[in-house]
Structures are given as structure tokens and as C-alpha cells.
Symmetry: D2
């Protein structure tokens, strides 16, 4: 947790960082030769130290600093992957204004960033996860394949709900990461809301296409959308009508739809 103090106004940056090394470490495994092994504990210390030097930096920028640091000091390292999860906080409103030093966790959504760096190239990805969204109209599922085990009924008006995970790749490293992240997120939400959905696959594709169409510095995007089923409850056995108003949210089984779209 980073706290940047600007007089009465503090800013938080709440990050969880994962680091993965791949390289010439065969001797560590086969011989128990630790001479090239950087301990987890040192990685942890490095994160604290670099976070202090780059206080308040965007997750992607901190990840880039970490990747350069590790490549410079570890000759056996071929590829380093830095995965950063940002837990989001808003400010507590007090009267008309937002408090400068009191915060409220936003969620369940989290912000993701990932750096994959080798000696001659670096990839920057950003993302969201656990963005739980729901459409109560303009969603159908019909015309699907039938076989001897089909029992599902076709529907022209169902709830579409998902917990969106999306990661996208930037075309270069020279992006305003915070601005870009907000633009992609807004595009995903707006295209989800506006779409006339024939299936989760159909809406997923429309969302990815909207990002590629509208956010020029995104090269490719991967979307994962579990189908969080909301089944209409049969009230007719009690002499009641369900006018598409009462649903049971089920957890399992569920479909999990994913795709990667490349410009």
C-alpha cells in the first residue's frame, strides 16, 4: 500500500505484485545449486524499494521498472513476468466534498497490469477482472444445435450476466496508462450495455470489436465471460404468473466463453 501525501490530500495505490522468472536455472533443479537463485524474499524487498522510489506510479510503470531491474542483475534470466493487481479505492464523501484522507474500497472489480520482458522485447498488458455486469433486456439465446440430450428451451428475452475479465496488449510502451485503462473500461461497459445480444459469444465479440475500433493503441484483447445464469422461476405451480420478474441465480453448471481478438 502506497500513500502519497500532498498536503491535506492523500492518494492511495494498493497493489499486489507477482513475479515469475524463466531462464537458465537447470542446475538449481537438478543439482540443488542455488548460486543463481534470487530468493522470493529478495523479490519482495525489491518491490518495496522500487515502489518507494517510484511512489504513486501507474502499475504498468512500476512493472516496467521492476522488469528492467531484474533483467539487469540476473544474467541467467531469459524472461521475467510482472503481474500487478490494483485494488481500487474511492474517497469517502463528507457533505459536499470528498475527504482527502479517508477512503472506501471499490469493488469487486480489480485493475490488472502485466509486463513480460525479455532482453530484446517487452510486452505491456492491462486488464480488468471481477467486473460483474448484467443486462435485463436485449438478450436472447435461440437457434442453437439440438441433439438427443437437448432440454434447454429457446428464449428471446433473458437476463445476461457475467463477471468480465479482459486483458489487452498495448502497441507500444509509450502510452498514458491510466487514461488508456479508463478508455478501454468505458468502451467495454458501453458496448455491453448497447448490444443486441444473441449469445454471450456474440456480445463478447461486439465488446472486443468496440475496443479495437475505438482505442487505437490496443493491439489485441482477450475476453473471458462466464455465463452467470439467472433462470426464471416457475410460479405457475402456485397459481402465480412470472412476468419475467423473478429469477434464481445459479452458480453451476455455467458456460465460460472466451476469445482473443487481434487487430
Amino acid at each position: 500500500m502506497e500513500v502519497s501525501r500532498h498536503g491535506d490530500r492523500h492518494d492511495l495505490r494498493d497493489l499486489t505484485v507477482g513475479i515469475r522468472f524463466e531462464g537458465d536455472y537447470d542446475d538449481a533443479y537438478s543439482e540443488g545449486d542455488n548460486s543463481g537463485v534470487l530468493p522470493t524474499d529478495t523479490m519482495k524487498n525489491t518491490i518495496y524499494a522500487l515502489a518507494a522510489r517510484h511512489l504513486g506510479a501507474e502499475p504498468e510503470a512500476l512493472g516496467l521498472e521492476l522488469s528492467r531491474h531484474f533483467l539487469a542483475r540476473n544474467p541467467r534470466l531469459h524472461r521475467v513476468h510482472i503481474g500487478l493487481t490494483e485494488h481500487l479505492w474511492g474517497r469517502i464523501p463528507t457533505g459536499e466534498r470528498q475527504h482527502g484522507q479517508a477512503f472506501l474500497r471499490q469493488g469487486p472489480e480489480i485493475r490488472l497490469a502485466a509486463i513480460t520482458a525479455e532482453r530484446d522485447r517487452t510486452i505491456v498488458e492491462a486488464g480488468v477482472a471481477d467486473l460483474v455486469i448484467l443486462k435485463s433486456s436485449r438478450s436472447a439465446f435461440a437457434g442453437f444445435l439440438h441433439d438427443e440430450f437437448t432440454t434447454l428451451l429457446e428464449t428471446g428475452d433473458r437476463i445476461l450476466a457475467t463477471s468480465l475479465s479482459a486483458t489487452w496488449r498495448y502497441a507500444d510502451l509509450d502510452v498514458e496508462f491510466g487514461t488508456a485503462w479508463r478508455a478501454v473500461r468505458r468502451t467495454l461497459l458501453e458496448s455491453f450495455a448497447a448490444h443486441d445480444s444473441r449469445s454471450v459469444q456474440h456480445t463478447l465479440h461486439a465488446m472486443g470489436q468496440a475496443v479495437l475500433d475505438n482505442v487505437i493503441f490496443v493491439d489485441s484483447i482477450h475476453l473471458v465471460m462466464p455465463n452467470r445464469h439467472h433462470l426464471p422461476v416457475d410460479l405457475s405451480v402456485f397459481g402465480l404468473e412470472n412476468r419475467n420478474e423473478i429469477f434464481v441465480a445459479t452458480d453451476e453448471p455455467h458456460g465460460l466463453i472466451e476469445a482473443t481478438m487481434v487487430r
Copy 2:
């Protein structure tokens, strides 16, 4: 999940309901006599049916309907407890406006309601849980008891973070439950933000007192505040100074402070 449809504008009410019966059920246990036992499956059906009849009702109001229903039909029932959890949703913004039929889950915070009804009295409680809040200033912890196992240092400026759970009891049943819930929640947040904290206990008390002072129809309030420690990282071993900027959030061990305050 309830969907109320008002033309282009839909409203969601996303509830999980738990029901507890206490009464004259000894024969069910000792003899296996099920003649007075209402199956879980019937309770589930009842929730769907009453939710349909009272579409979009506040959780407390639905709970009251359920409690009356079960007391009327189950002569052996002495006390019924209805616990309702509301999962909160906002609208997806599209351009200048909020979309009428597309939603975004808010959280991690949840809204709670509970009805405890006997034949001659009914108690209505409301609450919040998983409201994760943090103060980056005006929080100290010093002057505490010392013994032979004390190692903790005193501090005049620490991060105070918690995941607040609070439940409060209404003085009567004739309350506008939605308005009341928002008033208590706002008072809890504002008093947390404003307090000069000497400890979690001290801030918990100030928050409970603010609710009793400001929200007249609340009779009592119970608050639970785990101390989500954020420990300053010692960077001096790397030749760096930590100006109260870099913290590690720890999970265990943690303190768990609670109290009930009665008007």
C-alpha cells in the same frame, strides 16, 4: 433476483434470504416425526412467491411479509428469523446518462436486514457488512498496557483500516427502510472520516455514538471492526527512508474489536 420493469427503466433487487425456525419441534428430532416440519424446499418456494407478490419491496418489508406468513401457517413455530442480504448494483453510465437496463455490481459492501418475529413481538434490524474503509491520517495507538511479552512500538500516525460490519435495531416497524439505511450508512462513514482516533475501539465508539445522536429511530447498534493492519516497511536496511509512504497489509494476526451501544 427481482427485475421491476417500468418502461425503459428497470430496477434490480438482488437478495439472498435465510430463514430460521425455533419452536416445538422436539418430536421431529427424537421420534423422526416430520408432521410439523416445513421442508427447506417449501421455504424456498415461499420466498419466490412472496417476492413476486411484493416485487421490488425493501428487504425489511419482504422479511416482515415472510415472518407473518410463516407464523400464520406453522402453529409449532415460536420464533422465526429472516436474514436478508442485498447485493448492490449501480447503473452503467453511457455518455451523459445512466443506462436503464444495464447494471454494474457495487461492492464489496453488502446491505443486511433481519426480522426476528414471535407471536407477540417483532424486531427489525438493518446493517452493512464488508464496508472496507481506511484513514491515512489522524490515527494513533499509544499508552497501552505493557507486560513481559510486549514488543509493539507506540505510534502517533498509523493507517487505520477495517472491514466494517454494523447492525442496528429500529425503534418501531414504521420506518422508511431505504431512507433510514442510507442515513445510518452516511453517518458511519462521515464519523469514521472525521474522528481523531486513539484506537480502533475509540473510533468504533465515536461511530456508534454518531448514529445514536443523529438517527433518531435507531435504538441500538452493534459494530464489528477487524483491525486490518498496514505496517510501515523498514527500508533503512536498503539505505532508503520510509516517510510513512510504503506499507505492507497483513492479514493475520489481527485484532477484532466489537461493541453494542444502546440508547
Copy 3:
């Protein structure tokens, strides 16, 4: 985690400990006066120190030492509750024997112990939780109450499955805690296996009665048994017969049955 070393044979004791203080702490809440407050951090240190002094002790015995320690040093303390969870480990078998220094976690079951001590009395409880058990025969559910929302069918042969939690109170402090715990656990399992069940309530009662009948130093027992439904799948729509062989395990909704039985 305690490791007791007896030559080639080591023993593990893997505990999580929770401590709750109740007492004359009003000033801490209302005034922020910390002079009587024992920090969480000191409680943690105390557990490590007393565990070292009483290496390998049964959880109940360590809890008693902790309760005495805290009551002796904290004059404002009226009641201290020590809750201990033991995570269970077995030995890794190698050839014919059990390895002395290599272990395998058992579970999901956990062992519980709890001490509630005041200045003039002490209560010792023990328990199990997450003991997941299932009967594939001799379990029925029929003859239950019917109303306008009943849809459940009666059954004479269903799967009965639960995740048992049970806590029991010892009549005095002079019990061989390990031996007693194993005796109660064995009695619970054997009575569950042997019972002709008319309902979860009925089996719960039989299990509690068996403990009171067979384990003389148990004064009372509290049992909690969620009904983990396993519903037969309707295969007739595919032209197949389900001879009570294929079930779907559902999570929600489920019944949760509990009772306290006192000698």
C-alpha cells in the same frame, strides 16, 4: 506450528488460536484510554511463548494455560475466551512404515477446542468441524407438513450428506483431552453410519444421544448439520432409467439443522 523432536520421530501440532477479552474496558472505547488495553501483538507473542513452554500440549491444555496467564495479568478482564483450531496431519507412509519426519495434511476435518474462563469458573469445550459424511442407504424424508407452496416429493431412499460441526462440553477439567476427543468423534461417526434416518433432525438427535450415552464426561453437545442435498437426476427424458445411481450435489438452497442436547 510446533515441532517436537524425539530422535528420528518428530510430532507436529498445527494450531490457529483466537483470543477474546470481555471486561471493564469502557474507557478505552469512550475516552480512548489505552492504559488497560493489551495489544493484539502482545497476545500473539504470548501464544508463541506459552506454546514453547508447553510444547506439544493438547489444544485444551494450552488454552487453559493461556486463560490463566491472561486472567492473572489483566485486572480489568472479566472473561477470556480461547478458541483453538487444530489442523490435522498424518505421516507419509514409506514402504511398511510411517515416516518419522514427513507429513501429509488430513482434512477437510479440523479439531476444535475452546476455553471460557472467568475468575471463579472455567468451561472446557472440544469439537470437530468440516467433517463431511454421507450415507447412501437407510435415509428417508416423508410425512412432512404440506401447504400451498409444497412441491417436494416424499422419498424413502435418499442420500444423506452433511458437513458436521459439533462442540461438546466436558463435565470437569480433569479429562484426557486427546482420548476423549477420539472417543466422541468415533461415537459420532458410528451412530451416523448405523442410524435409520427419517430426517437430518432425527439423525442429529441420535448422534447427540449416542455421545451422551457413551462418553460419560460429556455434559452437553451442540450439533450443526447442513443438509447437503444430492438430488437424483431425471434421465427419463433421454430414455434412460436412473436406478438411484446418478445424483447432482447442490449447494443452495440448503437446510441447516442444529440442536443442543444436555445430559
Copy 4:
């Protein structure tokens, strides 16, 4: 959940199944054309029906049947992946014998199987996950890389604990899957127990090597071993000595070691 009934002796097979389709489904995404889409609901029904037809089959065998079924009926399908998780149950002991119809969940360990089938080739993998194991001797970590952020001390005698996940690939489909699974599991446990460990990497390699050496029908194996740190508690501040007996198990940060070994 499958229950096979052989007179007084029942057998359980408790499976969770995941199915993944990859193929020529572009139109479903881009056009909302569902004519080739097999609904999740139909996949679910298919699992129940094939489980009934192959009651009690090993997970790998059921997976093979499912993969053949889906490839035969879905011309657009290029590759189907069937992932099966088996939750393990033992029998409740009653007196001298094991009860035929009463069961106790084993765990936390789970058994894994996975089929990846295309039209001209099929891969069968098996595995374990959540196998939590610990060595209290013959484990060191020393001689590692030092840099400006190193604070970790070298140690010649530490606890080594992990939650093992391992998946291995069979050389052909003609394997007795239950026997093979038990042989690999036993080899993993015995090699873990016996190894003189210089690091998690070193022990992971020894375990994988033991499987390749001893179980001839395994072609390759992938192992994942998080380092579940158990840190010795410094009791010297309280005037006590910690003779490598009292440890605190920490959750984060932790190392996560993995490797794939091919014959």
C-alpha cells in the same frame, strides 16, 4: 455423484467435470449464428447420461467416452478438452470393519484427470492437487544469489511445506488408470519424504525424476509447488530459546516453483 450398489457394499464416484470446445465457431461470435453451438445445458445433460451408462468408471475412462461423443456429433469441433476432478471418499470404520454404505470425505487432496482430443489424436493426463505435505528435517536453503536487497538468512535446517499440484501424461491410452494414479502418487510422496533438499526446486526435480524412473507409462510430468513458509519465531526477546520448535506459517509472500520434466 455416482453410487454403485453391490448388495451391502456401495461405491461412490464424486466428480466435477469441465468441458472446453475449440473449433470453427467464428460465426457464433461475429454474427450471433448459434446453429453450431452446443449449449452448456446440453453438455451437462450429456455428462449425466454418459456417467449412467459407464457407472463407476475411472475418471479418465469417462472423459474418453465424453470426448468421443462430442467429436462424433459436432462437426465444427476441432479440439475438446475434458477436465475431471474427483473428490475422494473413504469408508466410516465401525468396530473392526469398514461400513459398506457410510462414507467420510478425504482431503484436502483431489484427484485430477484430463482428456484433450482432436480428430486424429488423444492425450490423457492425470494428476493430484491440494496434496499438502511437510518435511521437518533434511531441508536447507543456502548459497543463493545476494544483491543490494538481500535480507534473507541462510539456513541448514528449515521446514519444507507445500501444497503439491502435479499432472502427468500417459504414453498411451491403454493404462489401468486407477493403479497408475496410485503408483505415481505413492512415488511422489516417498521421494518427497526421502529427499535431502537444498531448495524447493531441488526437491521438485527429485520427485519428478522419481516418477519418470519408476512409472514407465508416464511420458512427462508437470509439478507446481508453492513454498508454504514456516518461519522460526524469535523467542529470545522474551528470554526464551527457540530450538527449532515454534514456527509461524505465513501465507504471503510466497515462492511458487514449477517445472515440466519430459522423459
